[in-house]
Symmetry: C2
Subunit: 264 residues, 2 copies
DNA sequence: CAGTGGTCTAGACCACACT
DNA sequence: GTGTGGTCTAGACCACTGC
């Protein structure tokens, strides 16, 4: 591979007397460029969550680089949890619909007992309505104030005991057609529903956690006295290319559960 | 490299009529074995935090594998934050003493303003004494109940306002000689002190987070009324090879700060 | 300049899954 | 068996650092 067409090094061979370009080298390794191209295909929906993408050799031929270079690109996408490799089978677009990855973003675990031998979460939709985005919500979702958003409010319970009260804001355009029924009828992770119904895949998220006291509105919904300390978890979730797609504020009861985090 | 001496594939060529070894394949790729060997050298203190380790070619010669294989081993150790690569210079043993990595395990950030343009944390040691390990502490630190442990209690404040009250338990043997003075005299991260004074490097940690109300003892130390919701952060930290080396319970004020977490 | 890590390639072979 | 990802090697060249 002498010089694939998509390579563009900043310092061109020609015109060395040009303005010396103080800005940035803008050099990026081939495998990074390949990574970007694959990402673009993911974003464009060329391969959907759960799909198998072409083999490393096919992609190498398509992008006109060696298989090893594609491999390195896929390696990074796999460690970012965007792709999943399965030896002997192929490489697949990651999805929230699988058993294994199902509750990847839910960090609230029971204090005792095994991880998820509790019954599945019982969901109760309290509210689901179209609305104009408040300033703060709009800012975080990269919308304009007043743009259409969906507001959802629900309670999650385990074995009949409420554990989580959460409120979600979703941008109106990509989630057009989402209703309380859609949510209520669905079983399985909400992020899996987003994938299949709206083609929106959540890739990463940032959470801000605080301790707060239950207010008069939340307390009865969670079945605790007002003032009970709760975890406030504010999450901003992103799709491909760091596009914010969901703002969520959860109140977690932590009397029998805890938020688990790994540091490294 | 036909067959380096340290390779040991489970299914040997000889004696195919042997007992078929139901247990496990026990196969591990060469680069994993190299990773283990490097890890062993780190653990043995052959290279200390901050040191430069031998070049990839030197290690390749030493382990009698190709440079690419060493590279892959180092790659993984680097993504685990055990090693740090510096182009043109070498590969170094990671340390908590650097500016960049300084507060890697502290996730409490101010709600407003830039990350750490607040003054450095002010530390106040409240207690530091040798003690016999209570059952629960012993269990988590993989000691026996009654073994010697060090118990430390301190308050961290920013700009004069207390933010964190924490209590630490450290195994007595590796931390022999740790006193309140050692801690008080030191400036800089505690984990850096552990490295230089005791040769203990913290590599990863697990935290369990709950919301609790300030009790009568903690409230005045943090300057809040009793009952104020606080984040309870229980951390178990490990050195190389997943040896637990510190148990820490922190109470965080989150009225002007939040615990930040990234999900992916 | 020499020494280090970083990238890219090409080919061989292994392990696994399906058919 | 065929096709997939996984490992290992060897060599070439690039980019950065410091003498």
């Amino acid at each position: 591979m002498a010089t694939p067409s998509h390579i563009s090094t900043a310092s061109a061979d020609a015109s060395p007397a040009e303005a010396p370009d103080n800005t940035a080298p803008a050099f990026s390794p081939l495998y990074q460029q390949i990574k970007t191209l694959i990402l673009r295909s993911l974003q464009a929906g060329e391969w959907k969550p759960g799909d198998m993408i072409p083999s490393e050799f096919d992609l190498a031929a398509r992008f006109r680089v060696s298989q090893g270079t594609v491999r390195k690109a896929i390696d990074e996408l796999a460690t970012d949890n965007l792709l999943v490799r399965r030896q002997g089978k192929g490489t697949f677009v990651a999805t929230h619909a699988e058993q294994h990855t199902q509750y990847r973003f839910l960090r609230l675990l029971p204090d005792t007992g095994t991880l998820q031998d509790q019954g599945p979460a019982e969901r109760r939709i309290i509210e689901c309505r179209r609305q104009r985005a408040p300033a703060e919500v709009a800012r975080q979702l990269a919308l304009r104030t007043g743009d259409a958003v969906l507001q959802v409010k629900r309670v999650l319970a385990f074995d009949g005991v409420p554990a989580i009260l959460e409120e979600l804001w979703l941008p109106g355009v990509p989630f057009k057609g989402l209703t309380a029924e859609t949510l209520a009828d669905d079983k399985g992770p909400m992020y899996a529903l987003f994938e299949t119904q709206f083609g929106v895949r959540m890739v990463r998220a940032v959470e801000k956690i605080k301790a707060v006291g239950a207010d008069a509105e939340s307390a009865p919904l969670l079945g605790v006295p007002a003032g009970t300390p709760l975890l406030s978890v504010e999450r901003l979730a992103f799709t491909y290319n760091d596009e914010p797609m969901e703002l969520r504020r959860g109140l977690y009861r932590t009397d029998a559960r805890h938020y688990r985090n790994e540091l490294s």
